[in-house]
Amino acid sequence: MHPAFSVIFLTTLIGVAQGLFLALFSTQLYSELNILPSVSESNFYGIGAVISLLLLVGGLIASFFHLGHPERAWRAAAMWRTSWLSREVLALPTMMAAVFFYGVIHLGGYDGIAYTIGGINLSTSLFVGIFGVLATFILFVCTAMIYACIKFLQEWSTPLTVVNYILFGMASGFALATALASYLGLTEHVSFLGNWAIALTILVLLTRSASLYRNSRIKFKSSVQSAIGVRHNKINQISQGAMGGSFNTREYFHGKTAAFLKSVKYIFMVLVFPVPLILLFSAIDTSNTGVLFAAFAIQYVGLIAERWYFFAQANHPQNIYYQTV
């Protein structure tokens, strides 16, 4: 497929935002269960929610560049019964609303104790957060299923696509949360969030490697024989009906060489996994804000390459009809 940067930025930006929100929520949950110390006056949750919301808005703006008629985008909420894209269109604002209220409660100082159980005080914002977490995971599934549900795009049509989208988002979001906690001077939270970022990055290294391995051994169901229905082992295309190229030659092929594709794979395998892992390992104990931000930034750049590769690697069966001019 031809990778569109609007979709690359949409999926990576909202992935970070979703991961960041999950990091905020888990930090708050651990604090209220007295496993972690309170974030006290630092406004970690409030600032984090603002950043998460800005990233979600950024992703939404990026997605508009993918549309031919952005002014009709509101119509996209209509077919949620059948379309994962439509479901995503509903899930994204739902999550934005949850993050917005979560941020407002924290920044405006509206938080209070909503429920007390066994001497543990659970605040109102935590319950808003639970709603946000639900919305976050629904959004993760919707985004990934847009790709995973197309069964003849065999590189995408696997549960690993959903797993990877969730884990990539969480890993990058936790990395950003680590850097933010370090910036706000929350030393103990840095190691909590940083270790989660490391664990998630290692986990997604395993699942993404699994999907790369699967895709390298994929057996395509369609062939030129089934495409035109002629049963002969030797079929060559002579013409594709258009000499100047067409939508079919532009939309479904990345237009780069195999060597370029391979180099993008190596670039993201380095930038998403080992480099941020080394930086996180080295900077968690000292809580070096600059290095932790660098870890996130490098991983994010790597994720752009990863998403580009994700699209470019998918082989659409319609390309069988467009083998030669």
Binding site: G68, H69, T82, V230, S239, Q318, Y321
Partner: protein, 243 residues
């Protein structure tokens, strides 16, 4: 239920592209607006088309056969492009099974084109909406036209009758009979899309005749050494009658 469709006979298609030009002509001047072109007479021509004729060479040179392969929307019975549409702009008509795009609802997200394994949909680069074969829905029901012309433009244009139009759900229709009798098949059956358009394969119009089938070796007259008389020399019934 009616399912209108095209039957494309690869046995007689000569690849003249008359269906391509007539399709473009009819649909670019239709009520749904033009089909935009860029540089049509220049370098890198590019434009919106609903139908194309491709050519394939089957076999190894010089023992090859050229197959011309017209390709347009197949109006699947299970169209994978329809459920993925977020706005409902893509739909399959209940009454005749034609898969259509509502150009006023389409947001141009191209998701349906990803979800079509045949690459039958394309975005109009200027109107920014998804377009595809409509089976000339603005023509086949037009009562202002004589009944014989209420067919898709490509069908009327085909000089070799390689394109046929009809209801493939009606077992007595001409097209159903051709699918049945002449080995009609669907493209990429592995994805379960059940295309309504069918293709008829190349058919060999030759029979093998051995010499003994031309000269009857077991003719009993030959055995008895009786020569066959030329019937012209013999009196006919008329000669023997008294009328």
């Amino acid at each position: 239920m009616t399912q209108l469709a095209l039957i494309i006979d690869l046995n007689v298609c000569v690849g003249c592209s008359a269906c391509v030009t007539s399709c473009k002509e009819w649909n670019t001047s239709g009520p749904a607006g033009f089909m935009s072109d860029d540089n049509p007479y220049d370098k890198d021509p590019n434009g919106t088309f609903f139908n194309r004729v491709q050519t394939y060479e089957v076999g190894e040179y010089p023992k090859t056969e050229t197959v011309h392969f017209p390709k347009s929307c197949l109006h699947c019975e299970e169209p994978p492009c329809v459920p993925v549409c977020p706005t409902g702009a893509s739909y399959k008509r209940e009454q005749d099974g034609i898969v259509l795009v509502d150009y006023d609802k389409c947001i141009g997200c191209k998701y349906c084109s990803w979800a079509c394994p045949y690459g039958a949909r394309e975005i109009d680069e200027h109107q920014k909406v998804m377009k595809k074969c409509t089976l000339c829905v603005d023509r086949i029901y037009d009562e202002a036209l004589p009944e014989s012309e209420r067919k898709p433009a490509c069908v009327l244009a085909c000089p070799t009758n390689a394109r046929l139009f009809g209801d493939v759900h009606d077992p007595d229709s001409n097209v159903s009979e051709m699918i049945r009798e002449d080995g009609g098949y669907q493209l990429m059956p592995e994805w379960g899309t059940q295309p309504s358009n069918h293709y008829l394969p190349r058919r060999k119009n030759k029979i093998t005749i051995h010499e003994d089938e031309l000269i009857r070796v077991d003719n009993p007259l030959n055995k008895e050494q009786k020569k066959h008389h030329d019937p012209v020399d013999e009196p006919t019934l008329e000669d023997n009658s008294y009328i």
